[in-house]
């Protein structure tokens, strides 16, 4: 019971992220919205950038560069602005944990 209280308190402290955190599959579901281009679980083919196994902070930095315009893009500057920071963090964490296929 004590652990329950601690976890709940932490979740409350985390603010909006806590709402997301209650959904155990959210990172997986959000990352799946990228798969059309970046492949299932981030294993992309062809010209698209594979995301499986990339470090989470690198993915987050890339997204931020697309958003700011520091990294010019054909399309990612438009798509990246459709996700919240919390969602990007979850997506990055999910891809970082995926095993790249050879």
């Amino acid at each position: 019971m004590k652990l329950w209280k601690t976890t709940a308190a932490l979740a409350l402290l985390a603010g909006p992220a806590a709402v997301l955190a209650q959904d155990a599959h959210l990172a997986r579901n959000l990352a799946a919205t990228c798969a059309n281009c970046h492949g299932t679980n981030g294993n992309a083919r062809g010209e698209m950038k594979p995301l499986a196994g990339l470090q989470a902070d690198k993915i987050i930095a890339m997204i931020n560069d697309y958003r700011s315009g520091a990294q010019p893009a054909t399309i990612m500057h438009q798509i990246s602005k459709g996700y919240t920071d919390e969602q990007i963090k979850l997506i990055a964490g999910y891809f970082a944990a995926q095993k790249p296929k050879q």
């Binding site: 799946a32 679980n41 399309i75 798509i79």
Partner: protein, 429 residues
Amino acid sequence: MNTMQTKLHPSRRRLLAGAAAASGLALAGCATGGASGPSIGRVVIVGGGFGGATTARYLRMWGGNVDVTLVERNASFVSCPMSNLVVGGYKQIGDITRSYEGLKAMGVKVMQGEVVAVDVGSKKVRLASGAELPFDRLVLSPGVDFMNDQVGGLTAALDSGRVVHGWKAGPQTVALRKQLMDMPDGGVFAMSIPKAPYRCPPGPYERACMVASYLKTAKPKSKVLVLDANPEITSKKGLFERAFAQHYAGIIEYRPNAELREVSGTVAKFEFEDVKADVLNVIPPQRAGDIARTAGLVNVNNRWVGMDWLTMEASAAKGIHVLGDATFSAPAMPKSGHMANQHAKVAAAAIIQLLKGEPVSATPVVMNTCYSFVTAKDVVHVASVHQYDTKDKTFKTVPGSGGVSAAANQVEGRYALSWADNIWDDMLA
């Protein structure tokens, strides 16, 4: 709602799992699930296109032991996206055709057949063969069917093969290509576009470009007449206008507010004029696929399926999930293969939760990308991101996100081809 119960009675397990995911300790190991143990439920999926095939694959990938049966009337998948390249002669039909073997290898039972009846009460579907399939949850991803009776003579013209629609990829695509190849130099290719909403908003304008691109070199005295029932180009307007002017001046002629009334031979009759064409390509007005109507799910404008977007269930029937073009679209949500693939993942996640008696995600997101070829190599895109709005119970585009290409370019030409390879794998590999 289930989601409210989560907030009121958070279980310790769920909080712990969520906290782990939020802190970057992703539960990737759990994502693939296990195939052992008793089945958590039977899911029947009708339609093996972008929506249905993706649902089948993700149910097996995410759900572990879900009993998944996919019923599809065709032996193979033929992609509508990229099919205009076949019309233009830049790809062969085999290049846009994929088998269902990958899904079979993942444990999906793939049946070739046609579902003709849905019994919502006793939870089973009946096939044309007479076979019956029981389900715990049903997924209908039927695409569109055509309202040919709205245009005089169209049914007979399509039946005779003299007029083709080419709006469901396969033999129609090949037939349209053949008519174009048989057309004499100096001939007229006329295309009729129905009033929106219809499947693939930019598709007709891409087709005009692909046909004109072929004619420009092969039959340069020919014309492409684009007869649009809409008041203006419905998608990527500025980019298509630029392409028409830059690459196809003197070939493509675009006429807005031209709603097709009647087809007689290869003469297309409009309110103010008759158009005699050598090749007449009519994209008919559209509605949800017939099986959605048969199942009693069509409840918007007598054409589309009203939705509960959180679970992707039809508003008319709990336990029946509907995807893709057949749905009454959320604001600014296109009827596209990409969007159907995104619907499928929301549905797969929800179905697994519902089969397990657990709450569905309260914050789904979907996004769309449509690439269109304006020359054999130059491409333009439109993209959007749609977040679920809890208050209005629908998906809404995020202000400041999405948009179109700055200009047609060859980099996106390569991306478009890779998009196809990746999404076909994502649904079928």
